[in-house]
Amino acid sequence: MREELITSGRMNPGIDPVLHGWHWPIPFYLFVGGLAAGLLFFAAYKYLAGKEKDFPTAIMIGPFVALVAIVVGLMALIYDLQHPLYAWQLFTTVRIVSPMSWGAWTLMIVSIVNIIWIFTFLKKIFPKFNLKQNFLKKVVSIFIEEKQYEGELNWDWKYKLLRNFEKFSITNRSAIAWVMILLSVVLGVYTGILLSAFNARPLWNTALLGPLFLTSGLSTGAAMLMILSKTHIEKFTFSKIDILLIVIELFFITHMFMGYLAGSEVKAEAAHYFLGGEFTVTFWINVIILGLVIPLILETMELLHVKIPVIIPGLLILWGGMMFRFIMVDAGQVIRYLY
């Protein structure tokens, strides 16, 4: 028999009895980060594929949602800091070896590109912006004189700089799309690396987490587009894409567990938390069954022309993706090398 325990001394809140350094904002941040990555990826991808007409949701609406996700994610991250007032110090240094640091910078850059992207489509998305409502009027009037828009915003920029920039970015949309593809992959992978860079936590310490979270992020992105899009073709396309992504995800997850089981004693123990231990039920029900298997079945049925409202698999995928991150963050902190 082996009995291992801390007999005295350590009782640091947040560390003991179980590590709880990261709370809900972190997995939430990872989830919305992945979602944003997926949305931006598909926007750029469909644009570059020349599908501007067929995929208005993916190209124009998706990035809006992505921007919101990024902003909310950053807020969550800052909310989880113990010294939130010092958050600005994140941007006083670039520390390539710190995933937190390059994550913060990546998000920063992604959001700039994201904004530019949206900017190039502003006129298209809102050809006329009706400013009858009082509140909006007030807001807009801070920037633009009333007579310039007269109740309806015309997008004739007053400032030359803006005008030129708009022109420039519209002509270079393809280049921006390429940058956005690249950054979205970085962002997607980052959400996994943030965990896998932590060798200290046996569960997180696997190279598969990057591609896995990227796939999962793309899959949630696709699911979101499925829900948001209005045309059959968009819904149908993203449904198909999602089937593929789910299959890849299942493949990665299987490999991840096989890797744990073949790994060191702690790693094998980590796997057991999911294969009979503490996290088994939550993980299998939420992530595997609700988040992957059922959507997979539903979407396959859809492909076979069984009528299923896409919102169901869509929401399930989003739910599964979020739970996956919550469980990984939580379990990762529980499973440790010592004691």
Partner: protein
Amino acid sequence: MRYGMAIDTRKCVGCSDCVVACQTENNVPHGYTRDWISETVEGIYPDLALEIRSERCNHCDNTPCVRTCPTGASHVIEGGIVKVTHEECIGCAACIESCPYDARYFHPEGYVDKCTFCDHRVKNGQDPACVSVCPTHCMYFGDLDDSNSEISKIVAKNKVKVLAPEAGTKPQIFYIV
């Protein structure tokens, strides 16, 4: 110069004096600790073995905690001592998550705190507080680079181990077993 510690588990009785001494020396708030005692019992009565260890930050050679720190608050100073500059710490917990020993914690004032190897004492030639108070004299502190130092000799002469070597951090606290 490479500071390290050797702790003789054959002598440690787990009294926790090192813990209290650290608290009073370093003004650690009640309910928080930089060091702690763990115990491993193996075997079946009456064929038993007990190992008691006083644990703290290992001032690792390979420091994930410093690497993952986004602001540079966590850093390494002369002698390999790993420290946190309170004023630069945003409290993101990255370092806490990256330490396999759970050696760091949040000070109630919001920054991360941990063992400093009592650098404020060491620079005056004193032993760290925990070492200097231990009633069993089971802790040794000194320069591992100097092969003539007491600690180097102790580490060379005895069978030693480090904690969780598989985590790859190259800890600099050696347990004599």
